[in-house]
Amino acid sequence: MSRKAPPGARSTTITTTPSLPSLGPDEMCPVCKTMRYLNKEMKFLINPECYHSMCSACVDRLFNSGPNQCPHAGCHKTLRRKGFRAAFFGDLAVEREVDIRRRVAAVFNQKEEDFIDLQAYNDYLQKVEDLTFDLVNGNDTQRQAAEAELQEWEAEHKAEIERNKKAGREADEQSRRRLAAEREAARQRRLDAVREAEEEKQERARNREAELDSLAKGESASSRVQLKRRGQANRAAEAAANATATASSVAGASDAGRLSIRGLKEKKKAPAPDGPYDPFGGPVFVPSRYTVHSKLTHPKLEGLKNETLWRAGGYSFEDYTAQAMFEAFSGLGVFIEDEKEAGIGLSAGDVVGMAAGIAAVGDKMDLD
């Protein structure tokens, strides 16, 4: 239902409107000067070649018969019908910028995880932004330089770009799915709430009816009160059950929510650093019954402690003391008398077992 005014009216409107330039770019086609006032359904199209806007009628008229020059004064770009589309933004400069950004973003699609630290990522971001800025606002030389850089980067990082693109698509897909799931869950909850309210209402009506019935039957007041109480108790119990059910379901939902966190890459854990090599794999040779002091002295060896001649051969006083202590203590815990009794050549374990046996049958032995 186009409301095209007759041509006569149109000309008068134009002549009687002195404030033509004040009309916004949204209001008048710069090519054919049709105004929105005359054609409510007027649509503006642009071509990303030069971002000059014109109404759809002009596009049809000019480009139906193949490529043609842009009708804007001073613009000599050759445009095709296919390239025209409606602009998303009102400000065409922003539209152009976003188009450029789309191209840049397809190439520079590195993620924060790809960088060693935040600063490197930020520097990268700034570099990209600089490049984009040059592409958008720079003069010819800047633009060309930026363009070259862009292509160079693309050639250099082809594999990475592909990979990130794929990952990005997947992430998008996932986030979309999650949003949809959330919406669905919200809808479900709403429905549940409505149903709950409905049920409650019905329950109340039922109780009321039961009460009326009992009244009609002429039951005593006390039984009626009981009936009412029972109804209330039922309702309370039900509500409680519902509450726990919903609470558990909510807990479940939140569990699910926790599991489905997107965008958090499962970071590979670095293998724990191996400790120093342990040839014996377990046993410790640190003395347990005593500690070796560093202040131990020996009157005869005292002089040799710092003697270069001795030390050059590898002698160390500490080793000597450690050895001496070990020898001194290694005999403790061995009861020679007992061993003699039991016969020499038994291992320590046997000795212990035997001693225990002796203790147990001590009385008998005495008798013997």
Partner: protein, 803 residues
């Protein structure tokens, strides 16, 4: 009077005390000792403020660590009132203790109320005063002057720098007026005096916003220490204050102005690049380092403010793609253009922040992270550019705040785009509401930071609703009843008109002539019998208008006119204040007046109708909110899903708290009296949701009345009230002097002792039983011991052996 609660010496500046005041103090002390939060409801007009102050000051003065008190109230007049109370209290304490204490208290309010600059203070609008003040007092203005440039500064502000920074005013309680006078005398700026002295004060009194609105709180209340005692007085609306502080509306006009702001910003950047490249470079370097916010951005004159950001973000470096000034401006532009495009849609859209961000990213390649830093980055840029005419950038700031909020919070917020103002409108006027649904978000920092938060009001029922909605734990939740020597107020519920038809303002019947006539009759009848002033509350302006015009047609207004002057509240503040003034004059002279007003309007909150100014309050209809609003609907849904508060419960709670506020207007003290008439069928069931002190006084015989019955019982009540009433009659019942208080304390102690004894006995019995069940040997020993009748020491020894 002076008395002790446990070991706390309380000085109360009046010779007598109400029993509920004492109970309030006891509970308050319990809370402070335990170091937790509490919700307390105390009837209006029973001296809540002075009770609070005298207990907390006593507590403060006695304890060693001197915990600071932050007292938040809602309006200027309440702040001023609290300051005057505090001054009286401190004077009393000085008299009693024989010397002034080392004590300082200040009130803080906006620049507009505290300005002394001869030309700035003449400005009408608060934001202009703010802007002009900043242009005179900003840090770089001073720097410039030091460099010898010719710039205008404010002498009042400059004088402050000559004083000792921690001693700008002497000790004492400074009311707002007092501060202004002192400032004039000593030629120093009262506003900055108050701001800078906040750290050195024992008590700060200011409005809710200074603590709840993250945009202001970060600047004003940042340095307050953790152990402060925070009090929210008149807090029945606190959830709405929280929500409002985090919600923004964006219109096409504001976007247009934001674009202009961005353009100006760009020009400025270009200018600066030519003149002073170094400054931009410095800023850039700083941002690279991530030193943002470390040094000078927290100064008091910082221009713009930022919404709450998590701490980890504050310390992070600004993302690389908005580090450079020109990049950031281009970024802002893109965002604004995107919003403009979204506003062109002609259907209602409501979406969550994540879905908004996803769409945004798809079309503009704006990521979430730089968006989060938007407000912060803008602040930094504005500071670097040394802009003074800040009001030009206000819309830009709004957009930046919106950007930060939308990218910071995933849950608890909703974007609602309404292209038309009403359902019937033809011309689109799109508004993008970014609305906060969760009151707990704004108040969370307060609960996290301060150990004791006290929420109190005259009408804060049901008490358990508030901890639920604001998501916090309480130590004490208490509602006090009003002790009265005579029944000085009469709440009645009228459900039927004189023709026995039920009356209600529910949507289906509100415009039926019979209902309207019945309400009219009710009004006429009460206008006949009420002495002096009478206040009538309607649920909304719209309904008030329609019902008044219908009454006019029915001749009801003419009838009322015979008995009283009729005055009406309007949305316009000036007109309303004129109406109020006339009303007061009329109440003091002749037969009084009827004030018709709205339950959610200005009159219903904060204006007292004490004594002859209000003898009857008539509440026509339950003041429900407008339920068709999309924002309200979203909030209801959120409450149901997150806090399990059902829609109807919340709506009815909200309506009843407003009704209670209205009712509380007439009773402002114990020697006051008044009628409270609730005229709606639905009040009958909602009775239990009224505050305890009102609900207690409703007798069953005074509910479910018809108009004529209500009138006859009101007559009886008014006749009784007309009898002489001496203060002496109240003593011992609703007012205690010191002796009576002592008696009460003694009794309480005895009760406590009895209780403890009972408990002890129980414990002993339990222990006995446990021992009896223990080994037989032990038992034998004990029995032998008791046979020998040893004294207690030996018994204890034996028991030790036994173990």
């Amino acid at each position: 009077m002076e008395f002790f609660i446990d070991d706390l010496r309380v000085l109360f500046p009046y010779p007598r005390i109400y029993p509920e005041q004492y109970a309030y103090m006891v509970d308050l002390k319990k809370t402070l000792d335990a170091g937790g939060n509490c919700v307390l409801e105390m009837p209006s007009g029973t001296g809540k403020t002075v009770t609070l102050l005298s207990l907390i000051i006593a507590y403060q003065m006695q304890s060693r660590e001197k915990r600071k008190l932050i007292y938040c109230s809602r309006t200027m007049s309440e702040i001023e009132k609290a300051l005057v109370e505090l001054r009286n209290l401190m004077k009393f304490r000085a008299d009693r203790l024989g010397g002034e204490e080392d004590f300082r208290a200040l009130g803080l309010t906006s620049r507009k109320n505290l300005c002394l600059h001869p030309s700035v203070k003449r400005e009408k609008s608060g934001s202009i005063v703010d802007a002009r003040c900043r242009s005179l007092t900003a840090g770089f203005v001073k720097e410039k002057r030091e460099k010898g440039e010719e710039v205008e500064t404010c002498i009042y502000h400059d004088n402050l720098d000559l004083l000792e920074p921690h001693n700008l005013v002497p000790n004492g309680v400074w009311t707002l007026d007092g501060l202004l006078r002192y400032g004039e005398e000593h030629k120093q700026c009262p506003y900055f005096t108050a701001r800078r002295m906040m750290q050195y004060c024992n008590v700060i009194i200011y409005s809710f916003h200074y603590l709840l609105d993250p945009k202001i709180a970060e600047r004003v209340s940042k340095d307050l220490s953790k152990d402060c005692i925070v009090v929210f007085d008149e807090a029945h609306n606190i959830d709405n204050v929280c929500i409002e502080s985090l919600s923004t509306d964006i219109t096409e006009d504001s976007l247009r102005r934001a674009t202009r702001g961005a353009q100006n910003l760009e020009n400025k950047i270009n200018e600066m690049r030519e003149s002073d490249q170094k400054k931009l470079q410095d800023e850039y370097e700083k941002l690279v380092q991530g030193l943002r916010g470390s040094d000078d951005c927290q100064q008091e004159d910082s221009f713009m403010s930022n919404p709450t950001l998590p701490d980890d973000l504050i310390n992070e470096a600004v993302p690389g793609n908005i580090r450079r000034a020109e990049h950031f401006v281009a970024f802002l532009r893109r965002f604004i253009e995107y919003l403009k495009t979204r506003m062109k849609v002609r259907q209602v859209i409501s979406e969550t922040p994540p879905s908004f961000l996803a769409h945004l990213k798809e079309y503009t390649f704006i990521e979430k992270k730089p968006l989060r830093f938007c407000a912060e980055r803008l602040t930094s840029l504005v500071r670097t550019l040394e802009l003074t005419n800040i009001e030009d950038y206000q819309p830009l700031q709004e957009v930046a705040t919106f950007a930060t909020l939308v990218s910071t919070y995933e849950k608890g917020f909703l974007l609602i785009l309404e292209p038309y103002e009403s359902d019937t409108a033809e011309v689109p006027n799109p508004i993008l509401h970014f609305t906060c649904l969760d009151a707990a978000i704004a108040i969370k920092p307060v609960f996290d930071r301060f150990s004791s938060v006290i929420i109190t009001s005259g009408t804060i029922s049901p008490l358990e609703m508030y901890p639920k909605m604001l998501n916090f734990q309480t130590v004490v939740q208490e509602s006090y009843s009003m002790t009265l020597a005579r029944k000085s107020f009469l709440p009645i519920i009228v459900t039927r008109g004189s023709d026995q038809a039920s009356i209600s303002t529910s949507f289906q019947v509100r415009n039926e002539p019979s209902v309207v006539r019945n309400y009219g009759n009710l009004l006429t009848e009460f206008a006949k019998i009420t002495p002096d002033g009478m206040v009538v509350f309607f649920p909304s302006y719209l309904y008030m208008e329609s019902i008044i015009s219908m009454w006019q047609g029915m001749g009801i207004l003419d009838e009322v006119w015979k008995y009283k002057l009729i005055l009406v509240e309007t949305p316009d503040a000036q007109e309303t204040s004129l109406a109020l003034e006339t009303y007061r004059t009329a109440c003091c002279n002749g037969r009084g007046a009827v004030l018709l007003c709205v339950a959610r309007g200005k009159v219903s909150e904060g204006i007292d109708f004490d004594h002859q100014y209000g003898r009857t309050v008539l509440c026509i209809g339950v003041p429900f909110q407008y339920t068709e609003s999309r924002i309200l609907k979203a909030r209801l849904e959120f409450l149901r899903e997150t806090y399990r508060i059902r829609e109807n419960d919340f709506l009815s709670f909200d309506a009843m708290r407003h009704a209670a506020q209205c009712l509380g207007r007439v009773l402002r003290g114990k020697d006051d009296y008044g009628l409270m008439v609730l005229a709606d069928r639905r009040f009958q069931k909602k009775r239990a949701q009224l505050p305890k002190w009102i609900n207690q006084e409703i007798r069953d015989s005074e509910t479910n009345l018809s108009t004529d019955m209500a009138v006859s019982s009101a007559r009886v009540f008014l006749r009784r009230m007309a009898q002489p009433f001496r203060t002496k009659d109240q003593e011992g019942v609703s007012i205690w002097n010191l002796e009576q208080l002592r008696i009460h304390q003694k009794k309480m102690q005895e009760d406590l002792i009895l209780e403890l004894q009972a408990e002890q006995e129980k414990e002993v019995a339990a222990a006995e039983a446990a021992r009896a069940a223990a080994s037989g040997v032990g038992r034998r020993v004990v029995e032998e011991v008791s046979d020998y009748e040893m004294d207690e020491d030996d018994e204890a020894e034996m028991m030790a052996l036994d173990v």
